[in-house]
């Protein structure tokens, strides 16, 4: 069994961890209300930070050989420091990628940073990260991304809960154990034609997908960190492997913490909704998630201009069923009237 290294953000290069002999797994919020984490974090911190830290403090992540952060939002940067201070014997690293992805020095800088990160792994764990190992890892992770993309191409055949289960378990299980099981693939039997695009940071519990299934709506596309954004771009299997990993990070669909051009994300998401003939868009925001909150006004305005109705849901760790359902149901009523 390989040692596991945890990460919270998909800007952490899995291939490098894997090539160093580790099994990278995503640390995700669970549904238990945090108790220990509140001694370290304010209550206005997002549930991702609070729940993940809480699991670590409760000893539930003791099987991890390390935790790797990526430079994205302020909260995760602060969390990296808290983690480092709280678990001094653990390998805690931050991969500081560029914010402006198409800046003139972005590629060169990121390559240097990824090499620094690989060297830090080598030094701390006395391992070697060879180009051959990197190439093998790249191929394996590309295979997983392709499998998810293949599933995604058929996503409207399945229930929203099936979509959630496949996407959510993909990153939280080790690559070697990853498989899309037939038992996960519940076929949807609803005839409703309401087509929705979901946008948000991560989705970690199935309340919303369950409500969408109950109400007969279908998810036609998503923009989640642990959803379509994860597998939309593959790493080139030729050339220098670190260069290839850097190129993927710089060209994949952006999250609100990254920047390519002022309207890059807005244009991409409006196009995503249009290309998928979406009837509406649901913003699934984690409460206190600044990047997505700041991103919302221009996105909402662009959807208004495109005459695509949208709904904002703000949820904490677990979406309240009644409150969420009335909002979603009223939104679907609004869409079906048109």
């Amino acid at each position: 069994m390989q040692n596991k290294i945890g990460y919270l953000c998909t800007y952490v290069p899995e291939e490098i961890l894997h090539a160093a002999g580790f099994s990278p797994v995503r640390i995700a919020p669970n549904t238990t209300p945090p108790t220990r984490a509140d001694a370290h974090l304010q209550s206005y911190t997002c549930c991702l930070a609070r729940s993940c830290l809480d699991q670590a403090l409760a000893g539930k992540l003791n099987d991890l050989a390390g935790v790797v952060f990526a430079h994205t939002c302020d909260t995760l940067q602060g969390l990296a420091d808290i983690w480092r201070a709280t678990f001094p014997n653990l390998f805690v690293e931050t991969v500081v990628g560029p914010v402006t992805l198409n800046g003139p020095h972005a590629q060169k800088y990121l390559v240097a940073e990824l090499r620094r990160f690989a060297a830090a792994l080598e030094k701390h764990f006395a391992v070697r990260v060879t180009d051959d190992a990197l190439r093998a890892s790249i191929r394996l992770y590309n295979t997983r991304r392709r499998a998810l993309a293949d599933f995604y191409a058929r996503r409207t055949e399945f229930t929203a809960v099936a979509w959630f289960n496949v996407m959510n378990t993909a990153l939280t299980t080790a690559l070697e154990k990853f498989a899309i099981r037939n038992s996960q693939l519940t076929i949807r039997n609803s005839q409703s034609a309401i087509r929705l695009v979901l946008i948000g940071a991560t989705i970690d519990e199935p309340t919303l997908p369950q409500i969408l299934d109950d109400l007969g709506a279908r998810i036609v596309a998503d923009d989640f960190c642990n959803g379509a954004r994860y597998f939309d771009t593959l790493v080139a299997e030729e050339g220098d492997p670190i260069e290839a990993i850097a190129t993927r990070e710089l060209t994949r669909a952006t999250c609100p913490c990254k920047h390519r051009a002022l309207d890059d994300r807005v244009e991409r998401l409006v196009k995503l909704a249009k290309d998928n003939r979406a009837d509406g868009v649901i913003f699934y925001h984690k409460k206190f998630c600044d990047p997505h909150a700041w991103d919302y006004p221009p996105l909402a305005a662009a959807l208004d201009r495109a005459e695509i109705p949208h709904l904002l849901l703000e949820v904490e760790q677990v979406a309240p069923v009644g409150q969420t359902r009335v909002r979603v149901e009223a939104f679907l009523e609004l869409l079906s009237e048109e």
Binding site: P309, E314, P320, G322, Q323, V326, R327, E329, A330, E333, L334, E337
Partner: protein, 289 residues
């Protein structure tokens, strides 16, 4: 038994000049809210009877009781109603409903019927949440926003304060306006914090009316933010139980600089009225011509 200051009156009403016997379509709407339940019966799209009751611990029982209360003395039984729409928090638990719809759609439609087609913004101030709804001339929802989880700024919060100050809930609005100077608002994010603050003010020697004013202002403040987010277009109306509280309505109007159209009916029935109207449309679609 000590007086229960939060307890508002349950009642029913019937249009004695109308007879259901000649009606072509009899429909009903049942709005099972978190605090109150209304049943409305309409005959050919006209208001015929309604009842307003407290919601109990069981939604089906609450729905049944409200319906029985509305039909009291009408010699009309449930089976004679052609189509029933359930709405509100307990909508999926109305055992005799043919269809359920959200209270957002129903309040929109109800406001359009009760206040007229010129209504564009509806504020539904209910038992445990608030909804700002933009509607079109047909009473259809264009956009909506709901408040956050907490009960501050809702009917339940008002009941808590009525109990604390020992002021009958129906009198709270008027009393809150009988003050010398408008005080600063109390905390508006949480009903428990608001109660604690109100208690503190009482200890400081504040008069009940002033505490009520401070609480009402906080409530107005809170819902004003919701309305500003969605954008207020006239005409503006308020539905739900809190529309009956003049202290909150007056302060809200002042804060927003817009006057709400005043009703000549019980604002709590708007959701059930909308449900009964939509029931009529739905029945017309399935009824043999």
């Amino acid at each position: 038994m000590p007086q229960e200051f939060w307890r508002w009156k349950e009642y029913n009403w019937r249009a004695l000049d109308l007879s259901w016997r000649k009606a072509k379509i009899i429909t009903a709407g049942v709005d099972v809210g978190s605090v109150s339940t209304q049943a409305v019966v309409m005959i050919d799209g006209k208001l015929y009877a309604y009842a307003n009751r407290r919601t109990g611990s069981s939604s089906p029982d609450s729905a049944r009781r409200a319906m029985e209360c509305a039909l009291e003395g009408a010699d009309l039984i449930l089976d004679q109603i052609h189509y029933i729409v359930g709405t509100g928090y307990g909508r999926v638990n109305v055992p005799f409903a043919h269809k359920t719809l959200t209270e957002i759609a129903c309040h929109a439609r109800g406001a359009n019927f009760l206040y007229g087609a010129a209504v564009r913004t509806v504020l539904d101030m209910g038992g445990q949440d608030c909804k700002a709804i933009k509607i079109d001339a047909q009473g259809k929802v264009v956009n909506f926003l709901m408040n956050d989880k907490c009960a501050a700024g809702t009917g339940r919060g008002l009941e808590v304060i009525a109990d604390l100050l020992q002021v009958p809930i129906e009198e709270m609005g008027e009393l809150s306006l009988r003050i010398e100077q408008e005080p600063e608002p109390v905390s508006s994010t949480c009903v428990v914090f608001a109660k604690t603050e109100a208690l503190g003010l009482l200890r400081k020697g504040w008069k009940k009316n002033d505490v009520l004013a401070a609480y009402s202002r906080a409530m107005a403040h809170r819902v004003a933010a919701l309305l500003r987010r969605i954008g207020i277009e006239s005409e503006f109306v308020i539905t739900g139980g809190i529309a009956k509280n003049s202290g909150i309505v007056t302060r809200l109007e002042k804060e927003l600089g817009i006057v709400a159209r005043k009703p000549n009916f019980d604002t709590q029935i708007a959701g059930a009225v909308g449900a009964a109207l939509i029931a009529k449309e739905l029945f017309a679609k399935i009824a043999p011509r």
